[in-house]
Assembly symmetry: C2
Homo-oligomer: 105 residues x 2
Protein backbone atom coordinates (compact mmCIF):
# COMPACT_ATOMS: atom_id res chain seq x y z
CA UNK A 1 0.00 0.00 0.00
CA UNK A 2 1.40 3.38 -0.97
CA UNK A 3 1.22 5.88 1.83
CA UNK A 4 2.01 9.52 1.48
CA UNK A 5 2.45 10.85 4.99
CA UNK A 6 0.94 8.88 7.84
CA UNK A 7 -2.62 8.72 6.61
CA UNK A 8 -4.98 9.53 3.78
CA UNK A 9 -5.78 13.05 4.88
CA UNK A 10 -3.71 14.83 2.25
CA UNK A 11 -2.79 14.60 -1.40
CA UNK A 12 0.87 14.52 -2.46
CA UNK A 13 1.82 18.01 -3.65
CA UNK A 14 2.54 16.91 -7.21
CA UNK A 15 -1.04 15.68 -7.52
CA UNK A 16 -2.69 18.84 -6.28
CA UNK A 17 -3.04 20.71 -9.57
CA UNK A 18 -4.52 17.57 -11.03
CA UNK A 19 -6.86 17.07 -8.09
CA UNK A 20 -8.16 20.57 -8.77
CA UNK A 21 -8.97 19.68 -12.36
CA UNK A 22 -10.98 16.69 -11.26
CA UNK A 23 -12.84 18.71 -8.67
CA UNK A 24 -13.60 21.36 -11.27
CA UNK A 25 -14.84 18.77 -13.75
CA UNK A 26 -16.80 16.93 -11.08
CA UNK A 27 -19.88 19.02 -11.71
CA UNK A 28 -22.37 18.52 -14.51
CA UNK A 29 -22.87 22.19 -15.26
CA UNK A 30 -19.16 22.73 -15.64
CA UNK A 31 -18.77 19.62 -17.76
CA UNK A 32 -21.55 20.92 -19.96
CA UNK A 33 -19.95 24.33 -20.30
CA UNK A 34 -16.72 22.77 -21.53
CA UNK A 35 -18.53 20.77 -24.18
CA UNK A 36 -19.90 24.02 -25.61
CA UNK A 37 -16.58 25.09 -27.06
CA UNK A 38 -15.87 24.33 -30.68
CA UNK A 39 -12.28 23.68 -31.64
CA UNK A 40 -10.25 26.78 -30.82
CA UNK A 41 -13.39 28.79 -30.12
CA UNK A 42 -13.62 31.62 -27.64
CA UNK A 43 -16.85 32.39 -25.84
CA UNK A 44 -17.80 35.23 -23.56
CA UNK A 45 -19.93 35.02 -20.44
CA UNK A 46 -23.08 36.28 -22.13
CA UNK A 47 -22.88 33.65 -24.83
CA UNK A 48 -22.47 30.89 -22.30
CA UNK A 49 -25.18 32.25 -20.01
CA UNK A 50 -27.58 32.59 -22.93
CA UNK A 51 -27.64 28.83 -23.51
CA UNK A 52 -27.67 27.97 -19.84
CA UNK A 53 -30.58 27.40 -17.50
CA UNK A 54 -28.57 29.09 -14.76
CA UNK A 55 -28.44 32.72 -13.74
CA UNK A 56 -25.65 34.81 -15.13
CA UNK A 57 -23.92 35.14 -11.77
CA UNK A 58 -24.00 31.38 -11.33
CA UNK A 59 -22.40 30.86 -14.71
CA UNK A 60 -19.78 33.36 -13.68
CA UNK A 61 -19.11 31.32 -10.55
CA UNK A 62 -18.61 28.12 -12.52
CA UNK A 63 -16.32 29.85 -14.99
CA UNK A 64 -14.22 31.08 -12.11
CA UNK A 65 -13.79 27.56 -10.79
CA UNK A 66 -12.83 26.26 -14.23
CA UNK A 67 -10.38 29.10 -14.59
CA UNK A 68 -8.80 28.52 -11.19
CA UNK A 69 -8.32 24.88 -12.11
CA UNK A 70 -6.49 26.01 -15.25
CA UNK A 71 -9.06 24.37 -17.45
CA UNK A 72 -10.05 27.65 -19.08
CA UNK A 73 -8.02 30.63 -20.12
CA UNK A 74 -9.59 34.04 -20.06
CA UNK A 75 -8.89 37.47 -21.41
CA UNK A 76 -10.76 40.69 -20.94
CA UNK A 77 -11.26 42.70 -24.10
CA UNK A 78 -13.20 45.89 -23.64
CA UNK A 79 -16.32 45.13 -21.67
CA UNK A 80 -16.25 41.46 -22.39
CA UNK A 81 -14.34 38.55 -20.92
CA UNK A 82 -13.52 35.76 -23.35
CA UNK A 83 -12.90 32.22 -22.27
CA UNK A 84 -11.28 29.38 -24.15
CA UNK A 85 -10.05 25.91 -23.34
CA UNK A 86 -6.51 25.53 -22.05
CA UNK A 87 -5.74 22.75 -24.43
CA UNK A 88 -2.09 22.28 -23.57
CA UNK A 89 -2.81 22.00 -19.87
CA UNK A 90 -5.55 19.46 -20.43
CA UNK A 91 -3.32 17.48 -22.78
CA UNK A 92 -0.53 17.47 -20.27
CA UNK A 93 -2.81 16.64 -17.38
CA UNK A 94 -4.66 13.77 -18.98
CA UNK A 95 -1.49 12.57 -20.61
CA UNK A 96 0.07 12.29 -17.17
CA UNK A 97 -2.97 10.55 -15.76
CA UNK A 98 -3.01 8.04 -18.59
CA UNK A 99 0.67 7.46 -18.06
CA UNK A 100 0.16 6.94 -14.37
CA UNK A 101 -2.65 4.49 -14.95
CA UNK A 102 -0.64 2.53 -17.49
CA UNK A 103 2.46 2.26 -15.35
CA UNK A 104 1.13 2.16 -11.80
CA UNK A 105 -2.27 0.48 -11.84
Amino acid sequence: MKLYGKDTSSIPPEWQPLARVFSALGDEHRQRILLLFDKGERLNVSQIASVSTLARSTVSHHLKILHEANVLHSEKIGKEVWFWINRSWLEETFGNVLDYVQHNC
Copy 2:
Protein backbone atom coordinates in the same frame (compact mmCIF):
# COMPACT_ATOMS: atom_id res chain seq x y z
CA MET B 1 -20.81 26.85 -30.19
CA LYS B 2 -21.74 23.20 -29.80
CA LEU B 3 -25.18 22.70 -28.32
CA TYR B 4 -26.57 19.38 -27.26
CA GLY B 5 -30.30 19.88 -26.85
CA LYS B 6 -31.60 23.40 -26.35
CA ASP B 7 -29.49 24.38 -23.39
CA THR B 8 -26.70 23.34 -21.06
CA SER B 9 -28.87 21.50 -18.58
CA SER B 10 -27.87 17.99 -19.62
CA ILE B 11 -24.85 16.01 -20.69
CA PRO B 12 -24.87 14.08 -23.96
CA PRO B 13 -25.51 10.42 -23.13
CA GLU B 14 -22.14 9.24 -24.42
CA TRP B 15 -20.42 11.50 -21.91
CA GLN B 16 -22.34 10.36 -18.88
CA PRO B 17 -20.16 7.44 -17.78
CA LEU B 18 -17.20 9.74 -18.07
CA ALA B 19 -18.91 12.53 -16.18
CA ARG B 20 -19.42 10.06 -13.36
CA VAL B 21 -15.72 9.31 -13.20
CA PHE B 22 -14.92 12.99 -12.85
CA SER B 23 -17.53 13.45 -10.16
CA ALA B 24 -16.14 10.45 -8.29
CA LEU B 25 -12.59 11.75 -8.55
CA GLY B 26 -13.66 15.28 -7.66
CA ASP B 27 -13.15 14.61 -3.96
CA GLU B 28 -9.86 14.65 -2.12
CA HIS B 29 -10.57 11.65 0.06
CA ARG B 30 -11.44 9.54 -2.93
CA GLN B 31 -8.41 10.74 -4.85
CA ARG B 32 -6.31 9.80 -1.86
CA ILE B 33 -7.82 6.35 -1.63
CA LEU B 34 -6.95 5.63 -5.25
CA LEU B 35 -3.35 6.64 -4.73
CA LEU B 36 -3.06 4.00 -2.01
CA PHE B 37 -3.12 1.12 -4.44
CA ASP B 38 0.16 -0.34 -5.55
CA LYS B 39 0.33 -1.78 -9.05
CA GLY B 40 -2.18 -4.61 -9.29
CA GLU B 41 -2.80 -4.55 -5.54
CA ARG B 42 -6.08 -5.44 -3.88
CA LEU B 43 -7.09 -3.81 -0.62
CA ASN B 44 -10.00 -4.51 1.69
CA VAL B 45 -12.07 -1.96 3.56
CA SER B 46 -10.27 -2.47 6.87
CA GLN B 47 -6.89 -1.85 5.32
CA ILE B 48 -8.08 1.35 3.70
CA ALA B 49 -9.90 2.52 6.80
CA SER B 50 -6.87 1.84 8.98
CA VAL B 51 -4.80 4.47 7.17
CA SER B 52 -7.65 6.93 6.89
CA THR B 53 -8.66 9.68 9.25
CA LEU B 54 -12.28 8.89 8.41
CA ALA B 55 -14.69 6.53 10.09
CA ARG B 56 -15.10 3.09 8.58
CA SER B 57 -18.63 3.81 7.40
CA THR B 58 -17.44 6.95 5.66
CA VAL B 59 -14.70 5.05 3.88
CA SER B 60 -17.33 2.54 2.84
CA HIS B 61 -19.40 5.37 1.41
CA HIS B 62 -16.51 6.67 -0.67
CA LEU B 63 -15.67 3.19 -1.92
CA LYS B 64 -19.24 2.80 -3.05
CA ILE B 65 -19.06 5.97 -5.11
CA LEU B 66 -15.78 4.90 -6.69
CA HIS B 67 -17.28 1.52 -7.47
CA GLU B 68 -20.42 2.99 -9.01
CA ALA B 69 -18.26 5.16 -11.22
CA ASN B 70 -16.46 2.01 -12.41
CA VAL B 71 -13.20 3.25 -11.03
CA LEU B 72 -12.86 0.34 -8.63
CA HIS B 73 -13.72 -3.31 -9.00
CA SER B 74 -14.74 -5.28 -5.95
CA GLU B 75 -15.16 -8.88 -4.93
CA LYS B 76 -16.37 -10.37 -1.70
CA ILE B 77 -14.28 -13.25 -0.41
CA GLY B 78 -15.44 -14.69 2.87
CA LYS B 79 -16.02 -11.88 5.31
CA GLU B 80 -13.94 -9.40 3.40
CA VAL B 81 -14.55 -7.23 0.38
CA TRP B 82 -11.53 -6.59 -1.78
CA PHE B 83 -11.19 -3.57 -4.03
CA TRP B 84 -8.82 -2.95 -6.89
CA ILE B 85 -8.42 -0.37 -9.61
CA ASN B 86 -10.32 -0.91 -12.83
CA ARG B 87 -7.32 -0.25 -14.94
CA SER B 88 -8.83 -0.95 -18.33
CA TRP B 89 -11.75 1.37 -17.71
CA LEU B 90 -9.49 4.17 -16.57
CA GLU B 91 -7.21 3.64 -19.55
CA GLU B 92 -10.15 3.74 -21.92
CA THR B 93 -11.72 6.71 -20.22
CA PHE B 94 -8.65 8.90 -20.06
CA GLY B 95 -7.57 7.73 -23.48
CA ASN B 96 -10.88 8.98 -24.84
CA VAL B 97 -10.59 12.25 -22.99
CA LEU B 98 -7.09 12.83 -24.28
CA ASP B 99 -8.27 12.02 -27.76
CA TYR B 100 -11.16 14.44 -27.44
CA VAL B 101 -8.90 17.20 -26.19
CA GLN B 102 -6.41 16.66 -28.98
CA HIS B 103 -8.99 16.64 -31.76
CA ASN B 104 -11.70 18.98 -30.52
CA CYS B 105 -10.09 21.64 -28.37
